[in-house]
């Protein structure tokens, strides 16, 4: 018995709370609306959540580094558009799809490196730089598309997000792979340790011999790559690319990350918590859809949940400090 309680104490409390919340919603919705357990609902959930789930991972590492990345949606759209344009120019063969995806990832990493360089080298707050970045990248996307969506992408490309491998949507598999990769990067590499240290205390990390500029640039580069992967999934899911897709994802990713227990001041945050909060939010979102709640109410609910969760975190932290 002692062992079990110890185990629970050691386990991530936030992830556990989120897991319990998810199970509750799952059971409640499943009992009242059997459609919730239907194959189509489960599959549409698995197609939707990788898009913003991957964006949330980008936001997460930026936040662990003590910053924030508001340009992710801009990067996603820009790289989706670059991939789409390249594919159409080269005739939509399988080779062109490969080239398009590689180019998109390249664009994402370049955008991220640019963010990271300005943040690390000029010491401008990450929030401002990435806000500018959002403007810049969506501006570039707008220049390329001139406004309307790019459509008529090859069918093989749209199979990436809509296709299945052993009954599981490919996007979900990509998502799981990225989560595992991120676990490895954050917990078992020097980069991960330096990232946490830099997020906790920049000055201390510089004095302990960490090259802050290099870590910052790598972090935002990685975040940009995640952005571009999400962009590819988005373009593939909608079978088109546009400069203002997914504008609501910025708030949603912030909400996911804060809900998942990542400290907005940097230095703290676990992959498991973020994964759990992605699952919980997707369940809430699907529940809203099945209950036919107005989409605007959903926006309201996201804001409310964000505020309530941060308030609750603050209150528990204060209580612990008092004890």
């Amino acid at each position: 018995m002692q062992k079990i309680t110890n185990y629970f104490k050691k386990a991530d409390r936030i992830a556990l709370a989120l897991l319990i919340g998810s199970v509750l919603i799952f059971v409640l919705m499943g009992v009242t609306h059997p459609k919730f357990f239907g194959k189509s609902n489960l599959q549409s959930m698995l197609i939707q959540c990788p898009e913003y789930g991957i964006l949330a991972f980008g936001m997460m590492i930026a936040m662990i580094a003590g910053g924030i990345d508001l340009s992710l949606v801009g990067i996603a759209n820009l790289s989706g558009i670059v991939a789409a344009v390249l594919m159409l120019r080269m005739g939509g063969t399988n080779l062109s799809i490969g080239i398009g995806i590689v180019a998109a990832v390249l664009v994402g990493s370049l955008c991220g490196l640019f963010n990271g360089f300005i943040i690390g080298f000029l010491d401008i707050p990450a929030m401002l730089v990435t806000l500018c970045g959002l403007q810049l990248y969506s501006g570039l996307a707008l220049i390329i598309t001139k406004g309307p969506a790019i459509t008529g992408l090859p069918e093989t490309f749209s199979n990436i997000a809509n296709g299945k491998l052993l009954g599981v949507p490919i996007g979900a598999i990509v998502f799981v792979l990225i989560a595992i990769l991120l676990c490895y990067l954050l917990y078992y590499t020097v980069f991960g340790k330096s990232l946490y240290l830099m997020g906790t205390n920049k000055i201390a990390s510089r004095f302990s011999g960490i090259n802050n500029l290099r870590i910052t640039m790598l972090t935002y580069c990685l975040s940009g790559i995640f952005g571009s992967l999400a962009g590819i999934l988005m373009a593939s899911h909608y079978n088109s690319a546009k400069s203002d897709y997914g504008t609501s994802y910025t708030l949603l990713t912030l909400l996911i990350v804060v809900l998942g227990g990542v400290n907005p001041n940097g230095g703290r945050g676990k992959v498991m918590g973020v994964v759990m909060s992605i699952i919980l939010l997707q369940l809430v979102s699907s529940a809203f859809n099945i209950l036919r709640v107005n989409a605007f109410v959903k926006t309201f609910a996201w804001g409310l949940i964000l505020i309530l969760v941060t308030t609750a975190t603050y209150l528990t932290a204060q209580k612990e400090a008092r004890d």
């Binding site: 970045g133 109410v297 804001g303 941060t310 308030t311």
Partner: protein, 332 residues
């Protein structure tokens, strides 16, 4: 004396003045249609609401925070006031502004509580409030655009400070609403420059702990800043409704980037503690000039987002490099 003049000529405000002058000369020489009074009138019209927003954003940034909820607050104030007045047959200009200010004030208080009491990072708090507000606006009042306003509000649109008719017979008139941002600017200038409370806002933005130790009531200052920002946003929403003669719940959304760009261009440091009213006015002028007249240079409108982003990143880099230079220079 010489040093003073040099300091004046290289101040943030003067740099913006140079850029505005250069841009005006460039546009004027490329396109002669620019050189007329109509440009000034149009510019003033574009600047009107942006200037009110910029004033509240400047106040918040100087105090060391940030507010991205003002477009949502302004939209709610606009739509709610319009709908309530039409449904109850109310028709009174001061009442409209009062209602806008109250709605803004309530939401501003929510921001203030989250930031000053719960100690949430300002960006996350205001993003959350923004999402809640815009969701509530659309869920309660729908996405419908109000095109018929109460008669007295509509009449205010036609009152003008001066009118000008160009040789082709097109009349340009500067609306009386322009007095609102002028009044707010004067108020802000007085508050920030000549009151102890205003100096406390700068102190809070510079170093919140030092300000507390120096005896400023930091919580009260933060409350004041966010409530003021909310009230001004509400007023801006009503002004916009009268100016456009319609209440559109989504037209203001997304304007926060432009406003932050204008404030930062005007030399306000995003980390807090620095910023002037004059600089903000100049920043708004510059951004409005670009927004209105980029097309006169032959640049297509879809370049606009990119150009504003570029100007922002260059502007902030210059301010940051300057701050770095000052920090690294020898201190006597």
């Amino acid at each position: 004396m010489n040093q003073k003049i040099r300091n004046f000529l290289t101040s943030n405000e003067m740099i913006v003045v140079y850029i505005i002058a250069g841009l005006a000369i460039l546009i004027g020489s490329v396109n002669h249609a620019f050189n007329s009074i109509s440009t000034v009138v149009n510019l003033a019209r574009t600047m009107l609401v942006t200037l009110i927003f910029a004033m509240c954003e400047m106040l918040v940034i100087v105090s060391g925070g940030i507010d991205v909820s003002f477009p949502a607050i302004a939209s709610l104030a606009m739509i709610a006031t319009g709908n309530i007045m039409l449904k109850n047959g109310l028709d009174n200009v001061p009442l409209a502004f009062l209602m806008g200010a109250i709605i803004g004030g309530v939401l501003g208080t929510l921001n203030a509580v989250l930031i000053a009491v719960v100690k949430m990072p300002p960006l996350i708090a205001t993003l959350g409030v923004s999402s809640m507000t815009s969701g509530a606006t659309l869920a309660i009042f729908g996405a419908k655009i109000l095109t018929v306003l109460p008669a007295k509000l509509d009449e205010l649109y036609k009152v003008s400070l001066f009118t000008y008719t160009n040789p082709e017979g097109i009349t340009y008139s500067l609306t009386v609403l322009f007095l609102i941002p002028i009044g707010i600017c004067l108020l802000m200038w007085f508050l920030l420059k000549y009151t102890m409370f205003g100096r406390g806002i700068y102190a809070t933005g510079g170093d919140i702990r030092a300000a507390r130790i120096a005896g400023f009531n930091v919580t009260a200052i933060q409350f004041f800043v966010y409530i003021m920002s909310g009230i001004l946003s509400g007023i801006a929403g009503i002004t916009y409704m009268i100016l456009m003669r319609a209440a559109d719940p989504s037209v203001l959304m997304g304007s926060e980037m432009m406003v932050i760009a204008a404030v930062v261009m005007g030399g306000t440091r995003i980390t807090g503690g620095h910023g002037t009213v004059l600089g903000t006015i100049l920043g708004v002028t510059l951004i409005s000039l670009i927004k209105n007249n980029l097309i006169m240079l032959g640049v297509p409108t879809h370049f606009q987002t990119f150009v504003i982003g570029l100007i922002m990143i260059v502007g902030t880099s210059i301010t940051s490099l300057k701050a770095k230079h000052i920090a690294n220079s020898a201190k006597i």
